[in-house]
Amino acid sequence: MSENGITMVDENGMRLDGRTAEEHRPIKIEAGVLKNADGSAYLEIGKNKVLAAVYGPRECHPRHMQNPTRAIIQCKYNMQAYSVGDRKRPGTDRRSTEISKIISEALENVVLTELYPRASIDVYIEILQANAGTRCAGLTAASVALADAGIPMRDIIPAIASGKADGHVLLDLNKEEDNFGEADVPMAIVPGTDEIVLLQMDGHMTREEFDRAIEMGVAACHEVSDIQKDALRRRYSAEGCE
């Protein structure tokens, strides 16, 4: 039982939603869902529903943000007002500004931005339904959308959170585990090299627990990576292209 009296992992090691500690929620990804975007993806992980759209490379506005040596990645993460239990006040806030920044910085690590000097690659992430882990869901969907847009990149980034709840290190926390748990560690890796391109932590963990969380997260990221590639494969095997 956790400090606040809620049991989140039973004696058999099963969680509230019937998962084991090392199991992520079911993931569904569909690429190329938006007609007018250059690349797009829709992702569901458990109860999270995320839509990502990519435009560009295109001329960068405002012009003073252009970089003469490479493209910039402008990311906008936005939660719909109806995405959470209580209505969220629409528009940007401190949280969405932070998430937009870390996602664009994670993507800058893999996109070959030097091929498009002065251009901008715009990534829009809309959270339609949130249930903990939306920044990882957003980044996972955004990298599929970037690949769908044909933008040259070193690798497709998968992201997943791990954390600690009820004294156990768990993978991919859901809303209850996130709210009443002890720690949350979202991460994203480059699957080819296992480089970490996004890592945050809130809450407290021992060094051993943290190492375990990273280990679980990296293993799960490789599984997510396969699902991302499968989504792209399905997109073009279905319609066939000239």
């Binding site: 690949a147 040259p152 066939g240």
Partner: protein, 188 residues
């Protein structure tokens, strides 16, 4: 033709001793990896590894037919902003600020650039140079102004003869280097 998607970004596709990195691939430490998803082409004539992607970004190449809006008239050239490429709905990535040299406007002798183009005209042009600067060409019959507005009343000018347009409302005629389908282009 149905393409088989066989590589994804990050997949190792070749070693540099055999094939160099080219379009859609990149090299790190002697190994060549795919940068886009698509069909891998190992070119044994050029010794390059390429990825042909079904949805490539729109970057201007020599020979592309583009639409541009005239932004300025100088003594020896017109400047223009490229807004679209024929055959793709994707926005232009990279440089869009182009110049059309006086010698590349019309097959006839051009006395004054202002008699061929005016600021705000929509022209169809061919890209003839990318580096060091973007250069356009409008000498062909199907290239030139495809839409022009009257400088006074902003009505669409009507074609009245070879390289002649006229504003019906102001009853004012001007000369232009017109494309042969002037007036038939639909702007979406």
């Amino acid at each position: 033709m149905k393409q088989i998607i066989d590589v994804f970004p990050g997949d190792e596709v070749a070693v540099e001793e055999e094939y160099m990195a080219s379009e859609g691939t990149y090299a790190v430490d002697g190994k060549v990896y795919a940068a886009q998803f698509g069909r891998l082409v190992l070119d044994d004539d050029e010794y390059v590894a390429k990825v042909v992607t079904p949805n490539p970004p729109n970057v201007l190449k020599e020979g592309d037919i583009v639409y541009a809006v005239i932004a300025g008239i100088r003594n020896t050239m017109a400047t223009a902003d490229v807004i679209a490429t024929e055959g793709t709905a994707r926005q232009v990535g990279g440089e869009t600020y182009a110049t059309i040299h006086v010698s590349k406007i019309s097959p006839d002798y051009t006395e004054d650039v202002g008699n061929e183009f005016r600021v705000g005209d929509l022209v169809r042009a061919r890209v003839i140079s990318i580096s060091p600067s973007l250069q356009l060409f409008t000498k062909d019959a199907n290239l030139g102004v495809v839409r022009s507005l009257c400088g006074t009343c902003k009505d669409v000018m009507v074609k009245t003869g070879k390289n002649k347009i006229r504003c019906e409302r102001c009853n004012y005629s001007m000369s232009r280097k017109l494309a042969d389908d002037y007036g038939d282009v639909v702007c979406e």
